[in-house]
Amino acid sequence: MASLTLDKVRKAFGPVEVLKEINLSIDDGEFLVLVGPSGCGKSTLLNLIAGLETSTDGEIRIGDRVINDVHPKDRNIAMVFQSYALYPNMTVRKNITFGLEIRGVSNAERDKAVADVAKLLQIEPLLDRKPAQLSGGQRQRVAMGRALVRDPDIFLFDEPLSNLDAKLRVDMRTEIKKLHQRLGSTIVYVTHDQIEAMTLASRIAVMKGGILQQFDTPQNIYERPNNMFVAGFIGSPSMNFMDATLRDENGTLSVHIDREGSPISLPLFEAPESYRAYAGKKVVFGIRPEALTHKRSSSDSADSQYVNFDSKVEVIEPTGADTMTVIEIAGKEIVARVRPDRAPTPGESMTFSADMSQISLFDPDSELRI
């Protein structure tokens, strides 16, 4: 168990810079998820922590120990790979104890360690099988067993669930979370799946193009995304963006969306001071689908500030719990989340409510949060 600090870490392959000054720090027992689209550098970052690649610049510390030049095997780190990477020629038992064997742990201790881990992961009946005789979920467990048995300071997971089918993925996700709660270990977890990131993490690092976009708790990232990329990447369906103008109407700021025929004006009752500077300027108005619903009034929920507008419904996509309703505003497709019993039929016009307490405004040029 240990904390992990990345201090101005850079990585370049020749002239190509894949990681640009990454600063991250997590405490002992935290669950850090690195998330981003493919090629964002998240796996490279994990490999740097693991020691499978060396950083070009900067410092990586576990606890107070700088580990830049420490061999992977001496970092006291264990890793679960995307393909599980189980040694095909060894039984499950051998797979789990291989690392211990190399470290010269005695037979008796190894047997005990395997027994403990097998019990924890419920893989006792599989110990004498070969990896080829296991199902995907079982392989996943064995791979975790191999990491757990070493009792490392930090666990690294490299997209461990991406090879499982949807149902199993959800089950294993819960299991990993349970395991983390039980063991209280420090975990760094790489995924491109934002739902995995949200559900598992105690803190999320969103990356794109080798740059750390935002590093915060899941809820903060969801509610207060730093920029339009983070806003669009986290959350499903993703946040709606509309070009708008911020207007000052008798002291009250309002978001003005230029729509053919009937422009929409959405007043902001509790606008933060930072909005003032953008009065009269163009902004990007971002609102999540769940903040855009069928007609409601503020009395439905004390903290919310509902503003109503009308729009024609293009398409509806029922999901069971909610019906995603696609409307078109100023040439953009906008998704609203409507209760199934209030769902409209395509083609008809309906009144929607926007919860103005849950919106984000972005600078259209820098794409940063205002």
């Binding site: 693991a50 499978l52 992977p72 095997k73 780190i77 264990a78 890793m79 790979f81 995307q82 393909s83 990477a85 189980l86 040694y87 095909p88 020629n89 060894m90 291989f98 690392g99 190399i102 470290r103 191999r146």
Partner: protein, 292 residues
């Protein structure tokens, strides 16, 4: 089962009959030389001279085999082929073992411990597969002379190892290229070093490609004539050269039955290797092809 897989119409049966006819024809075509050799190797010389090559022996004798093995005149000594058989074994076994081991290590390094210029090195090694034997004869003779192992079995081993390295490296490199890198990384995280990763992770999974390489190297080195004739002295001469000396000796009576027996003896080890591990050979080739 059988019925369901066959078409129930007459044409299907006809096709099948035709297919078998063709297959049998080809089998006979390929087996005929072996038949002729075996049959004539157990006939007396008179019977061969007077009779039909294809007929079965009237008097069965193993005398030609014994002659070929231990009594026939090879060069000036009436030693039979046995000492040369031993020579060949002494040459083939270390040459196959060393070239396979080196090829495996080359494949391991070229795929899992990449270094700048590795592709060029591999390309150059591949080139070795295309160099005709004749071109290297004179330089090789110089080298063997310089390091003082000209005309010895060790010299032949060296020649065959050097020549085989291109092929064995190619085999292992392609096989290991399909071997997941994550396994190597996992071994690294587990604390296994260069050698331990090789011996504990890669080698145990290399069965099929080892069989392919061993068969390939064994048959090539065993059957080689040119290097044996060029670089061997009388006491290190391999089987193939001895067989040639036996068959093409221009003095005395041509003992065809002994020649046949000698030829079968010379072919026996490669035949055995194929029969024993032939199915692994095909499996290994397939595995490399599909997984690559």
């Amino acid at each position: 089962m059988a019925r369901s897989t066959q078409p129930s119409f007459g044409t299907g049966k006809l096709m099948r009959a035709a297919l078998y006819a063709v297959l049998i024809l080809f089998a006979v075509y390929y087996l005929l030389p072996l038949f002729v050799m075996l049959v004539n190797s157990v006939k007396t010389l008179d019977e061969i001279r007077g009779g039909n090559m294809m007929s079965l022996p009237e008097v069965f004798t193993i005398e030609p085999w014994l002659n070929a093995w231990s009594r026939a005149q090879i060069g000036v000594e009436p030693t039979g082929l046995s000492p040369y058989f031993i020579n060949s074994i002494m040459m083939v076994v270390p040459a196959v073992a060393i070239s396979t081991a080196l090829g495996a290590m080359n494949g391991y390094v070229l795929t899992k411990w990449r270094f700048p210029g590795d592709k060029i090195i591999f390309g150059l090694m591949l080139f070795a597969c295309f160099i005709p034997f004749q071109i290297v004869l004179i330089p090789m003779a110089r080298v063997l002379g310089m390091i003082g192992i000209a005309g010895t079995t060790s010299g032949l081993v060296l020649v065959h190892v050097v020549y085989g390295l291109g092929f064995t490296t190619l085999f292992f490199r392609n096989y290991y290229a399909a071997f997941p890198d994550e396994l190597i990384k996992a071994a690294k995280m587990d604390g296994a070093g260069f050698w331990r990763t090789f011996t504990r992770i890669l080698l145990p999974s290399s069965g099929p490609i080892i069989v392919v390489t061993v068969i390939w190297q064994f048959t090539n080195i065993w059957n080689d004539f040119l290097f044996g004739a060029s670089f061997a002295d009388f006491d290190s001469m391999p089987m193939t050269v001895a067989l040639n000396n036996l068959v093409s000796s221009s003095t005395g009576v041509k003992e065809y039955n002994v020649h046949f027996a000698g030829a079968v003896l010379a072919a026996l080890p490669t035949l055995i290797v194929y029969v024993v591990s032939g199915r692994y050979f095909v499996r290994g080739l397939m595995a490399g092809a599909v997984k690559g």
